[in-house]
């Protein structure tokens, strides 16, 4: 039986349907799982993505002439194969790609998580024969708390600094993580949050999708001498240690990422506080997903794929690693 997906130098390729999933070099037809930079590259001739992803992808890559936006579950035919997109629970509009031919069903998970996230559609289990799964956090040391619990910790940190007259600068990935934090916090408080420009520009697509978040104010709209004592500011990790931070003095820094789970990683980066919050699946979510899809063959991409592959092999599953260019949360 010929495989439905193979990997070549441009990305994950479906020969039967002649299209790529999240290719990293320019191709003719690209199905894009979500708008993160390591999945949505520019230069393809035609794009296929979810309706919710489409505005974000075009905001990042510029207006795309040939883009087809699909509803979750809406099928589209590529020759003899039928393709549909299903919620991945990673960020707004993120999708798994289901590919069906007469030989069976393959699913490319894209980035996903099972932990609840009020800022996107929850992950949907898509039964399949072969699953290509991400493994950014493919080690049993990774275990996530509910986002709500992390939001409580963030709020407590904010409170403490508020009493001390200090600002809190929380670094987080600009697309997905920032909005998730704003949505989680909206359940606990109604205080406004200040935003770095890179995050502020990614708020409208979430608002348009009806996601309830805390009110936000771009820092760029404030006076140079505005006092941020007691305020919370969200900024992308690239702003850490930059002169842009001076205006918030005195302040403490925090970082929200799955990598904050390990002390060494926390200490190396030099933030005052680490909040363990990830938009990727942890170890048990990976295993749960593989089991629930019923896949009897698994390919692993991103990060610690070797560990998961060996673990699955020892449990009698056919599994191997795919070397892709995806970066997971690396860029954070």
């Amino acid at each position: 039986m010929t495989p439905l997906i193979i990997q070549d130098e441009k990305g994950l390729y479906c020969p039967a349907g002649d299209f790529y999933v999240d290719p990293w070099r320019p191709v003719e037809r690209a199905v894009i799982t979500h708008a993160h930079g390591d999945h949505a590259y520019s230069g393809h001739q035609a794009y296929f993505c979810t309706r919710l992803s489409s505005p974000i992808i075009q905001q990042r890559l510029g207006k795309l002439e040939r883009l087809k936006a699909l509803e979750y579950g809406e099928p589209i035919e590529f020759g003899p194969v039928r393709v549909s997109l299903h919620p991945a629970g990673h960020i707004l509009g993120s999708a798994q790609v289901r590919i069906e031919s007469k030989d069976g069903v393959w699913v490319v998970s894209g980035d996903y998580k099972r932990t609840f996230d009020p800022s996107c559609n929850p992950f949907e289990v898509v039964p399949c024969d072969t699953l290509i799964t991400e493994t950014t956090f493919g080690l049993p040391i990774y275990k996530w708390q509910p986002g709500e619990k992390v939001a409580q910790d963030i709020l407590a940190w904010w409170e403490t600094n508020r009493l001390a007259g200090k600002a809190c600068v929380l670094f987080c990935y600009a697309l997905g993580k920032a909005q998730r934090i704003l949505a989680e916090l909206a359940k606990l408080t109604d205080r406004p949050v200040y935003l770095h420009g890179a995050i502020a520009s990614l708020i409208p697509p979430y608002e348009a999708a009806g996601i309830r978040m805390l009110p936000t104010i771009p820092v760029s709209e404030m006076d140079k001498n505005h006092s941020y004592a007691g305020e919370l500011i969200l900024a992308p990790p690239s702003a850490f240690k930059s002169p842009w931070l001076r205006r918030f003095d005195p302040y403490e820094t925090g970082f929200a990422s799955g990598w904050m789970r390990v002390r060494g990683a926390k200490r190396r980066r030099g933030y005052d506080r680490g909040f363990v919050l990830s938009d990727h699946a942890d170890w048990s979510e990976l295993l749960q997903t593989i089991e629930e899809t019923g896949a009897h063959r698994v390919y692993a991409t991103h990060g610690n794929s070797d560990t998961l592959v060996r673990y699955l092999n020892e449990r009698g599953l056919e599994a191997s690693a795919l070397k892709t260019q995806y970066e997971g949360e690396q860029e954070e």
Binding site: L139, I141, D272
Partner: protein, 538 residues
């Protein structure tokens, strides 16, 4: 355990000394004295004998979870610490909250210390039961306590400051009360923070007065005649106490070393009662110091045989007198203390010597003389103001150590390249940078200084954290800090940094430091300027 764990995390996470002191003050003010005593025990760097080995802990975790060993190893590789790996792996397995209210002191006295008298099976049952009672963070603390590896990122000075604040006592009083041997008991802590002077313990040493490295030009010190110049000995800084017809010899690390140096302790019986000397223990022969390595032979041995005593003869070079006739002399000027000390030591003889005053007429002359340091097996000069009192801890202003090299700098690893020969497959050639206006500026390449194990670990890390490749050069995530030693510093227009280091080498991997704690280019330029100033002065 919860409160202590939170304190530990706070100290671990912040680099602000004020925040550290505040965290300790809050902790000590809210926990019962018996817990405060144990916390203090760990904060001042005291450690329990290792009760359980890391290997044992790992075996037990594997046995309890049924996890394959290779999977544990993969996890360990990403974490790099047994106590933490186990805590992360077992996280979420808490079945009872009965441990919520157990105090740190109860953990220590009723649970952890009694492990010593248990069989391995009983230990396994106890430890695996505790794991099910604790959350991840507390499990980490427990594992660290069990393996005797709890290291807290806080200096003795800060601990003293925090206690002094609670006790509303001067730091010097607290520092003194914390010296020497004490047991982590409720009574001890209450005594420590009490307003009344405690019953004196005859073995208790005074806090050592530590000199600061001289960074400014010598000329700023003023007239050389106001200063005592001594060689900086490369031995063991010690305090010799003769009280109540007993002798106690303390090292600066607050270890009692009386038995390690019987010829010194025995001869000290000739001192008048109520005398305390500050000095240096050296391997010493023919009125000359021997290299520190000779002294090390002596320290390393469990038993002191006759041949060891002969191979590594020692002397006590006295340089200060802290107590005389049972009277605290620390507030008297150095000149007076020294005169009395010289008299005592000359009468005493035996292995006792006076650390000689080096006569210099000018700083220029001192600079020239200092060049003899290496030949003399000394580390440079000590400069002490003749009117200085004997203070506690490291206080700047009156005591300076003017060391010969190496100079050191804390720098960040930015590039790596494969080595050659035996290490052709490993990344062993490193480029380091310091901070300049928020950017990293390369300052040196260094090849040697790490152990094989460290090289392996770093190599592994480099492979997984390469940001970019230029030919054979890997650009790595800038986060690891290394202490580099170098022999000299010179201006250089060829280098972006504007200076070049002579013979840079890696002294050690500063895993306790983050990138922002690395030195700045300004630090180096200042050093360069001083270097020039000193040379021009000579």
């Amino acid at each position: 355990m919860k409160a202590f764990t939170t304190l530990y995390e706070k100290l671990d996470m912040t680099t602000s000394t004020n925040a550290k002191v505040l965290a300790m003050v809050n902790y000590f003010a809210t926990v019962p004295p018996q817990d405060a005593a144990w916390a203090l025990y760990f904060l001042t760097g005291r450690r329990l004998k290792r009760l359980i080995s890391s290997r044992m802990l790992r075996e037990w975790a594997l046995e309890m979870t049924g996890m394959p060993k290779w999977l544990y190893e993969d996890a360990y590789e990403a974490v790099g610490d047994t106590a933490e790996t186990i805590a992360l792996l077992l996280d979420g397995g808490r079945t009872t909250d009965e441990a919520e209210t157990i105090l740190l002191s109860e953990w220590m006295m009723q649970r952890i210390l009694p492990l010593q008298n248990m069989t391995e099976r009983e230990q396994y049952d106890a430890v695996t039961r505790w794991w099910k009672m604790l959350d991840m963070r507390e499990m980490f603390t427990l594992n660290k306590l069990l393996t005797g590896a709890l290291r807290v990122g806080v200096s003795q000075n800060l601990v003293v400051r925090a206690i002094a604040e609670i006790a509303e006592q001067p730091t010097a009083v607290i520092a003194h009360r914390l010296m020497g041997n004490w047991e982590p008991t409720e009574a001890f802590f209450i005594q420590l923070i009490s307003p009344e002077a405690e019953v004196s313990d005859i073995s208790r040493p005074y806090p050592f007065f530590l000199a600061s490295p001289l960074e400014q030009p010598l000329e700023t010190l003023g007239n050389p005649a106001d200063w005592l110049v001594e060689w900086k000995w490369d031995g063991i800084r010690s305090q010799l106490i003769r009280r109540g017809q007993e002798t106690h010899l303390w090292s600066r690390g607050e270890d009692l070393v009386t038995d390690r140096f019987p010829e010194i302790s025995d001869h000290a019986a000739l001192l008048p009662d109520g005398t305390v000397l500050d000095g240096e223990i050296l391997a010493f022969q023919n009125e000359k110091p021997l290299p520190f390595a000779v002294l090390q032979r002596r320290i390393g041995r469990k038993k002191l045989t006759k041949s060891i005593l002969e191979e590594a003869p020692v002397a006590f070079l006295a340089y200060d007198l802290l107590e005389f006739n049972h009277e605290d002399w620390r507030e008297k000027p150095l000149e007076q203390r020294r005169r009395q000390m010289e008299q005592l030591v000359h009468q005493l003889g035996g292995p006792f010597r006076v650390s000689p005053a080096v006569q210099v007429q000018s700083w220029e002359q001192a600079t020239v003389l200092r060049e003899e340091s290496r030949e003399r097996n000394v580390e440079g000069f000590m400069l002490k103001r003749l009117d200085s009192t004997y203070q506690a801890g490291r206080k700047r202003g009156t005591w300076w150590k003017w060391k010969i090299d190496p100079y050191t700098v804390d720098a960040v690893l930015i590039y790596a390249q494969a080595g050659s020969g035996r290490r052709a497959n490993l990344f062993t050639d490193y480029t380091f940078a310091v901070i300049h206006e928020g950017q990293l500026v390369p300052i040196a390449k260094a090849y040697s200084g790490l152990s094989d194990k460290e090289i392996q670990r770093l190599d592994n890390w480099i492979r997984r954290h390469t940001l970019d490749k230029y030919g054979p050069v890997r650009v790595v995530e800038p986060c690891h800090v290394f202490e580099l030693a170098f022999e000299g510093i010179a201006q250089s227009s060829r280098h972006k940094a504007g200076l070049a280091l002579r013979f840079p080498r890696i002294l050690r991997w500063r895993e306790d430091k983050t990138k922002d704690e690395a030195d700045t280019l300004e630090n180096l330029h200042q050093l360069l300027n001083n270097h020039i100033a000193i040379r021009e002065g000579a």
